[in-house]
């Protein structure tokens, strides 16, 4: 699940712009807590949206650890540079639409929701 959440974070960045153009010069610590994995996922995506909107951070990758409903993550990135990062759209919020966090029979995880932009 940790890796699925980290990959979803990267997917969110790809909605905003081109994360592969980001230089990992800053480290941002993010924590969230929720009773169920689906709410935790929505909170995680919304926490990232907040970092982009309020602190102008854009991330290349994430390290995520989830234990007993507490998510602790570090985002590796830098301040947004709209031209170099080829930004297209700012997300408004994670929604509950198509929200799903589950483990598949092959032990891999799916973590998804629709993001309003």
């Amino acid at each position: 699940m940790d890796e699925a959440f980290a990959e979803a974070g990267k997917a969110l960045m790809a909605v905003i712009g081109s994360p592969d153009k980001v230089r990992p010069t800053t480290q941002t610590v993010i924590t969230c807590q929720a009773n169920d994995p689906e709410q935790l996922f929505v909170d995680w995506i919304n926490a990232l949206i907040f970092e982009v909107a309020a602190n102008h951070q854009f991330f290349l990758r994430f390290s995520v650890t989830i234990r007993n409903g507490v998510l602790t993550a570090t985002g590796f990135g830098e301040r947004i540079d709209p031209e170099r990062h080829e930004t297209a759209v700012e997300p408004k919020a994670a929604t509950y639409l198509m929200l799903e966090v589950r483990q598949q029979p092959d032990k891999s995880w799916i973590a998804q929701c629709v993001v309003d932009v």
Binding site: V15, I80, A93, Y96
Partner: protein, 476 residues
């Protein structure tokens, strides 16, 4: 849409018949073509809203309706607090008070001939737009609370605009009852540097040319002539509104569960109007409306600065400013009795008819301007509210074109540079910090706004006054 989900009652009126938990019928305004293009989910979401506590009249969907979160985009629903009625964050949406402001310039197209590029560049330099853009205002929390409580009048008092601007904004630029204390610190932090910014996505500032007049008498009263240059600004409450939506969707989800309100979709999260959570959201959402109205007022000031720098004879005045993502307290005649209702319009425009006491005196004889945004390659429309819209759909009309394709699909089909070049060939200058954003917003990714407007007109939800086409588009 599967035709079995609706019954056609007249050419442009379709019913989703009351069944199961529905407390009222659903009503969809659409042509055959628009109904055919609508997702089945629109009917499902109309049904879901019809089942919410305290709904009055019907659950409506405007001609531009499409699948949304909880309520469909284009959805209208009114709730009576004295009958257990609810308020829903999903019924307003994340972009609280997103709306359109249209400005007169006092200029004709010929006045910028040969200088269009210069005007486009000047506006692009002046208007903060796109991801990560910040405004010149940096507000401390206490200052932001003043904005949230006072809306556009705050902006005017601080030098952003003219006192006479306020009369041509819904609610004179300030909705009463805002409670900034009910807006989270996170929301305020998101907004600290975003006052006076356009945003991104489908938000824009356009220089437009009036190309057709449908109703000369109303056009004259609105101050519209063929060949006029107008300016339209489409944006909302920025990060503050988005965060209010996020915060209350979560708290309302818990509240609905505690109150035993069954939610077929989590995005329908709601709370009784007469509850702590309901009242808190109302205070926060009204703060969001005031934030949006102040934001469009500051942008208007920046437009005036741009035209001063451009050295034109422009006289920038407001035609009107109307939001299309709100919940407003209104009195409506239901079964010939006046009732105080809270009307959610999510991607729908209030459209008051002639004589409504809330209209500026100049427009009282004809009705409210209804501002419908198009795409950067098509047209926008100015309509006017009608008397009959009151009983048809609680004085509501459409709000825009609505997407018919995802952003991913659009970027696969179009290239932003090609779109920009093609539009330049048609006389439309695009200025943007995001070429990918242009591809995502390609005109072909949207429905035909003309068909949507035509249905609103023929059904009488609002009547066509004028058509405008873009000459310059500053894309968010």
């Amino acid at each position: 849409m599967n035709r079995k989900l609706v019954k056609q009652k007249s050419e442009y009126r379709w019913i989703v018949e009351r069944a199961g938990a529905m407390k009222v019928d659903g009503v969809i305004f659409a042509s055959e073509a628009l109904i055919a293009g609508m997702d089945d989910k629109v009917a499902e979401q109309v049904r879901n809203v019809a089942a919410l506590p305290g709904i009055v009249g019907a659950s409506y969907a405007m001609p531009d309706a499409h699948w949304g979160y909880g309520f469909c985009i284009g959805g209208v629903g009114a709730f009576d607090p004295e009958a257990g009625g609810i308020i829903s964050a999903g019924g307003v949406g994340f972009d609280i008070a997103c709306g359109v402001r249209t400005l007169h310039t006092g200029m004709k197209v010929g006045d910028i001939e040969g200088r269009r590029e210069q005007l486009a560049d000047t506006l692009f330099r002046k208007i903060p737009a796109g991801v990560g853009s910040t405004g010149r205002l940096k507000l401390r929390p206490a200052q932001l609370d003043e904005v949230l409580a006072n809306g556009a009048p705050w902006a005017v008092e601080h030098g952003y605009g003219l006192p006479e601007d306020l009369r041509f904004i819904e609610s004179n630029g300030r909705v009463p009852g805002a409670n900034p204390a009910k807006v989270s610190d996170l929301a305020k932090q998101r907004q600290a540097e975003e006052m006076g910014t356009l945003g991104s996505g489908n938000h824009y500032l356009e220089i437009q040319q009036v190309v057709e007049i449908y109703d000369p008498k109303t056009a004259m009263i609105f101050g519209i002539e063929e060949g006029d240059l107008k300016i339209s600004i489409h944006c909302g409450s920025r990060g503050l509104g988005h965060q209010i939506g996020t915060d209350y969707l979560k708290s309302m989800g818990s509240c609905a569960k505690q109150m035993g309100i069954e939610l077929p979709e989590r995005e329908l999260a709601c709370a009784p109007l007469n509850s702590d959570v309901g009242q808190s959201y109302l205070g926060a959402m009204r703060s969001g409306i005031n934030c949006a109205l102040a934001n469009r007022q500051i942008l208007t000031h920046l437009v005036r600065e741009a035209f001063d720098e451009f050295q034109s004879s422009a006289s920038i005045r407001l035609l009107f400013d109307v939001s299309h993502n709100t919940c407003q307290e209104e009195t409506h005649s239901i079964d010939k009795k006046p009732r105080r209702l809270f009307v959610h319009r999510k991607g729908a425009t209030r459209a008051w008819g002639p004589g409504h006491p809330g209209l500026p005196a100049e427009y009282a004889g004809v009705g409210q301007p209804v501002l419908i945004g198009g795409t950067m390659g098509t047209a926008s429309y100015i309509l006017v509210g009608t008397a009959e819209s009151e009983h048809m759909g609680l004085s509501s009309s459409c709000h825009g074109a609505g997407r018919n394709m995802s952003r991913t699909a659009a970027t696969k089909q179009w290239n932003g540079k090609d779109i920009t070049r093609q539009l330049a060939g048609c006389g439309i200058l695009i200025r943007t910090r995001s070429i990918r954003g242009v591809a995502e917003e390609a005109p072909g990714a949207y429905k035909d706004v003309s068909e949507v407007v035509e249905v609103s007109h023929k059904q009488g939800l609002a009547r066509k006054v004028a058509k405008l086409v873009p000459l310059i588009c500053i894309k968010g």
